[in-house]
């Protein structure tokens, strides 16, 4: 019983952390159809901005939010200057966002250097449940992720803007007849996705070492979260995808090593790509 409870808690933590990292990607991919290869770099940027904020003695929470906003702003400018013109050609956006990754990583190396930085855990310690101790900080992050996803669902399903956005995914022309400014909406969604990536980067920073390549490991896994969960299934899909990818990786790692676990997950994701390209549980 206690073992089961601790496994459930552990899985929940892994799932929600991965969901947080993948959320920005899922939004941009699901709503505006851009495969944002720069997602990893945006996570990294968010982490560095948080680190920089802390150096300036700005409180952690504020640093994370500021970091998210700056990354969102960078995303907006990137969209405005470049991506905007290529929404209809998926390959071009893929290459351009990848170029964004290359350039950003180099800039990070130039500005911050290549050595590892640490962001001190603002909530050290753990919550003791008797049979199991959960780290406080991870719990906070997971509650936050759940909150963000619920809030987004609310906007998405209960507000008129959300309904218009859903109409836009179905039919762009129809949505513009409904009075939705398509190009502005795309811009806001893209910016919001980048903001979420930056925020996620800042939030995971205390759990990892901050380095120019820290976002890379999340990039491909985030994609597979989105694919396994189903493109466009932004909310439920992200959770399900994170659960499957994170859970699988943890379980395989129990029996072998981390590398094999990662390889196994990638194999699994490729198989999902083939047999259920619409996502593991979503209907066609």
């Amino acid at each position: 019983m206690e073992l089961a409870a601790s496994v459930i808690l552990d899985t929940t933590l892994i799932t929600l952390t991965l969901a947080l990292a993948a959320f920005g990607l899922a939004i941009i991919y699901g709503l505006v159809g851009v495969i944002n290869m720069g997602h990893g770099a945006m996570l990294t940027l968010g982490a560095y901005f948080t680190w920089a904020g802390l150096q300036l003695e700005i409180p952690f929470v504020l640093s994370v939010i500021l970091g998210g906003f700056i990354v969102g702003l960078i995303g907006l400018l990137f969209e405005h200057w470049i991506i905007k013109r290529f929404y209809d050609s998926p390959y071009e956006t893929l290459l351009l966002t990848w170029a964004f990754f290359l350039v950003t990583t180099e800039l990070i190396k130039i500005v911050f250097g290549s050595d590892f930085r640490t962001v001190v855990n603002p909530y050290p310690g753990s919550i003791n449940l008797g049979f199991y101790k959960i780290p406080t900080y991870r719990t906070v992050i997971c509650l936050f992720t759940a909150f963000v996803i619920l809030l987004t669902s609310f906007v998405f399903f209960k507000t008129s803007t959300g309904i218009k956005i859903r109409a836009m995914i179905q039919n762009r022309e129809m949505a513009s007849l409904l009075g939705l400014n398509i190009s502005l909406t795309y811009k806001i969604i893209f910016g919001f996705g980048c903001f979420m990536a930056g925020l996620a980067g800042g939030l995971v920073a205390p759990m990892l070492s901050v380095s120019p390549y820290m976002g890379d490991m999340y990039l491909v896994r985030s994609f597979f979260v989105v694919i396994v969960g189903g493109i466009g299934q932004i909310l439920s899909g992200t959770i399900i995808g994170s659960f499957v990818i994170g859970g699988l990786e943890t379980i395989v790692a129990l029996f072998s090593d981390q590398v094999i676990a990662q390889v196994a997950v990638f194999f699994f994701a490729i198989i999902i790509l083939r047999i259920r390209p619409q996502g593991i549980f979503s209907e066609k």
């Binding site: 470049i82 998926p90 964004f100 491909v220 994609f223 590398v259 990662q262 490729i270 790509l273």
Partner: protein, 334 residues
């Protein structure tokens, strides 16, 4: 018809001049350039392996470095384990066969299910990471992080003929010869009916399907050829560089291949080939004068090329050439 004929022969002439220049270089230069240029030629072939996919079929792969690494490891492992047979030739052959088989299996698995082009990119990305991780973790076979040392090979056919590639000049000509053979074969393939059908797939896959072609077979085959070519280049690279390590399979290297081809011109075989040679040399040069900024510069050039011209530099030159021609043509008519 007249136009296409002159255009083809123009391109062939240019290709001939490039390879002639490459053949003459050892007579003029010596030293480091003779060591490094064969590697760049192999990078050129790696670029060609992507160009036949991306430029000629419309499929982007983020996994070319993975195939290159398979080739390099194949020769490394074969040479190390010293088989009875001629291990050099066996290593190269195995490099080609392995990468072709991996490409064929992955390609057929995904193409036959009509997986979207952008998803295919992600799958190749994953493939590349899988190969890199396997190279790192299977220490007994691959040497893990430390990699493998590979001797320069000896080409011999029984007692009849023996050719040592230990020195740079023989290695240079050996690589050049193989590069030319591969290049000509690829040109031949691209201009064949098979190549025309690939172009049709690039232009309008649904149409090609409606004409009764089984497009997934064609896409699998070209992915196979592309993998084989990358593996071939990788196997020669392995013996040339004398060292193989997991970084050959890393995604960043695959990306560099994309950058070479984007800059060189994805629709041109010779453009991609030169893209590989020139961008790799440029990277090497920039790395020596400004180690901090070179990747940044190349990244910015990459963005500029993607935004400005789809055809890369080859496409840009072609456009300028045609503008000049049409101007001449127009003024002659007036």
């Amino acid at each position: 018809m007249q136009n296409t004929l002159t255009k083809i022969s123009g391109e062939t002439k240019f290709e001939f001049l490039i390879f002639l220049a490459l053949a003459l270089i050892p007579l003029v230069f010596s030293g480091y350039i003779l060591f490094i240029l064969p590697q760049y030629m192999l990078f050129g072939l790696l670029a060609v392996s992507l160009s036949i996919l991306w430029g000629f079929t419309g499929i982007v792969s983020f996994g070319q470095a993975g195939f290159f690494a398979i080739g390099a490891y194949a020769i490394g492992i074969v040479v190390k384990s010293n088989f009875l047979m001629n291990s050099a030739i066996l290593g190269i052959l195995l490099g080609i066969v392995f990468s072709a088989v991996v490409a064929g299996v992955v390609g057929y698995f995904l193409f036959s299910a009509k997986v979207k082009a952008t998803y295919f990119v992600l799958a190749t990305l994953a493939l590349s990471i899988i190969i890199e991780q396997l190279a790192k973790s299977q220490k007994e076979i691959t040497g893990g992080w430390n990699g493998l040392f590979v001797d320069r090979i000896l080409i011999n056919f029984g007692d009849l003929f023996e050719y040592s590639l230990f020195n740079d000049v023989p290695m240079y000509y050996f690589t050049l010869l193989l590069t030319i053979i591969a290049f000509v074969l690829i040109k031949f393939l691209i201009s064949s009916n098979f190549g025309k059908i690939l172009k049709g797939i690039r232009e309008n896959e649904d149409r090609i399907l409606a004409l009764g072609y089984n497009t997934s077979i064609y896409k699998t085959l070209i992915f196979c050829v592309s993998g084989a070519l990358a593996g071939f280049a990788g196997s020669i690279y392995g013996t040339h560089a004398g060292f193989v390590d997991p970084s050959l399979a890393r995604v960043l290297f695959s990306t560099e291949v994309i950058v070479w081809v984007a800059i060189g011109g994805r629709n041109s075989i010779i453009g991609s080939f030169l893209g590989g040679i020139l961008v790799a040399s440029l990277a090497n040069y920039l790395n020596s004068i400004t180690p901090e900024y070179w990747q940044l510069i190349i990244g910015i050039v990459f963005i500029a090329v993607v935004i400005l011209f789809k055809g890369g530099l080859a496409g840009g030159f072609e456009e300028i050439y045609y503008r000049l021609i049409t101007k001449k043509y127009a003024s002659a008519r007036n």
